[in-house]
Symmetry: C2
Subunit: 263 residues, 2 copies
């Protein structure tokens, strides 16, 4: 298995970088790599690069970047607004949401939100790991929690909000999102808003439904858990309004073959 790592440094063919503490630990102690071993790096800005370990010891790892594998891409401008959930459910939501192309995670404290303590560092680490393991080239933002009213006060009206409405009037998600495809443009900004376990308070649903940028959608006849509802809406969003028409890079360039620049 070729390690694939997110780093924060600029990446360019021919450059050498010093691994940060996390990358150093992972390469040396987890993957037990040695000088000369190949890896893949990305930083969310410069695309994805093939690299080789130049030096690795107890103190540090130096990595020589050999060549670019993929140019930087981007995910749709989609913010997932969600009420914080229990540890397992929120870890799962961030991991799967990262795979499904969420650009930013926005925790929102609603009336029925049971969990208000959030370990944002842990969520960010989960997002990085999910991106590393699923060939994603960017890391989603993990934002600080906002109260329900603060979220709406600061909302840009040009950002369309798809509201997962488990109660009250809502048209089916496939119909609603298909109708919204008429408004798709390269500058579109989107959000999905899912409530906590137990759902939005009726006053919150009423408030949201009356906002011009909100489209309530129904997710079918079953009562989904909060994390399932969010992922279900995300999957349908990407299929109909997002980048679901694209294919994975195919064939992926094999690693450690061909020209290796200055090597």
């Amino acid at each position: 298995m070729i390690p694939r790592l997110y780093v924060e440094q600029p990446l360019a063919s021919g450059a050498t970088i010093t691994a940060d503490e996390r990358a150093h630990h992972y390469l040396r102690n987890v993957m037990r790599r040695a000088a000369g071993d190949v890896l893949v790096l990305f930083n969310g800005r410069d695309g994805e690069f093939e690299a080789k370990i130049a030096v690795i010891d107890k103190r540090k790892a130096e990595i020589r970047i050999t060549r670019q594998r993929r140019a930087q891409d981007s995910v749709p401008d989609l913010v997932l607004c969600f009420a914080p959930l229990k540890k397992d459910a929120i870890d799962f939501l961030v991991e799967k949401g990262t795979e499904l192309g969420v650009a930013a995670f926005q925790p929102v404290i609603t009336r029925r939100t049971a969990t208000s303590r959030l370990n944002l560092d842990r969520l960010r680490a989960n997002a990085i790991e999910a991106a590393e393991q699923t060939e994603r080239l960017s890391i989603p933002d993990i934002r600080a929690p906002l109260n329900f009213e603060a979220l709406l006060t600061g909302w840009q009206p040009s950002r369309q909000m798809i509201l997962c409405a488990e109660a009250g009037p809502a048209l089916p998600i496939a119909d609603q999102l298909t109708a919204l495809t008429r408004h798709v443009s390269p500058t579109n900004a989107w959000a999905i808003f899912c409530g906590p376990e137990g759902g939005f308070h009726v006053s919150e649903l009423d408030r949201l439904r009356n906002l011009p940028f909100v489209t309530p959608v129904g997710l079918g006849p079953r009562i989904l858990r909060a994390d399932t509802a969010a992922l279900s809406a995300l999957a349908v969003f990407q299929a109909i309004l997002g980048d679901g028409k694209l294919r994975p890079p195919d064939p992926m360039m094999p690693i450690g073959t061909g020209a290796e620049g200055a090597e």
Copy 2:
């Protein structure tokens, strides 16, 4: 919280049933319920009933069924064919798949399937718990594993298979499923087939692609983990071809109010 339990006995207003071992343990030791407490029962055949504990002690629990809350419904005839995954991923897949309305789970051993031991009893328990907690009225079948070739040999050609094709030619899932809506009838039978971590072998994809009942679909540009791919396909299936146009029962009849039959 009102306990909601799956039982295997026939259910009818006015009848009294003896709780099975699992229901007895849950009511007495987990939920610490007493005689006179209300609960909800379903069995996957007769709908959902309100009930009251008549007797509960160390030895047994007797439950008197008071009235029907909901008539039996059904989920679309959708089989999820999937390669067994690691424990966490497969538990998660069965839990979320149950919420998303899978009728039957069919494990399939493919060339790259890493895990072949499967605890079907544990998976069935997960499915029951997910159904209990999300208002589902039926329990999905958990089938014994089949080899790839045995699956295809026994396939009913009238069952359309939606193939999650992570490599090679495939049109976007939303387009393909929308095209299939032309063939929707009440007798439709469907399946989704997702490969293992690492994907189908190219020979498996080629074999599947040439079968008349197979529609390969693409799930977008990111490489999804096997469980994420399955859930993503399921969510889009229900939204476009399944029962995603229905709404949850609203308002749910409050429990423990109104006429209570023979009480």
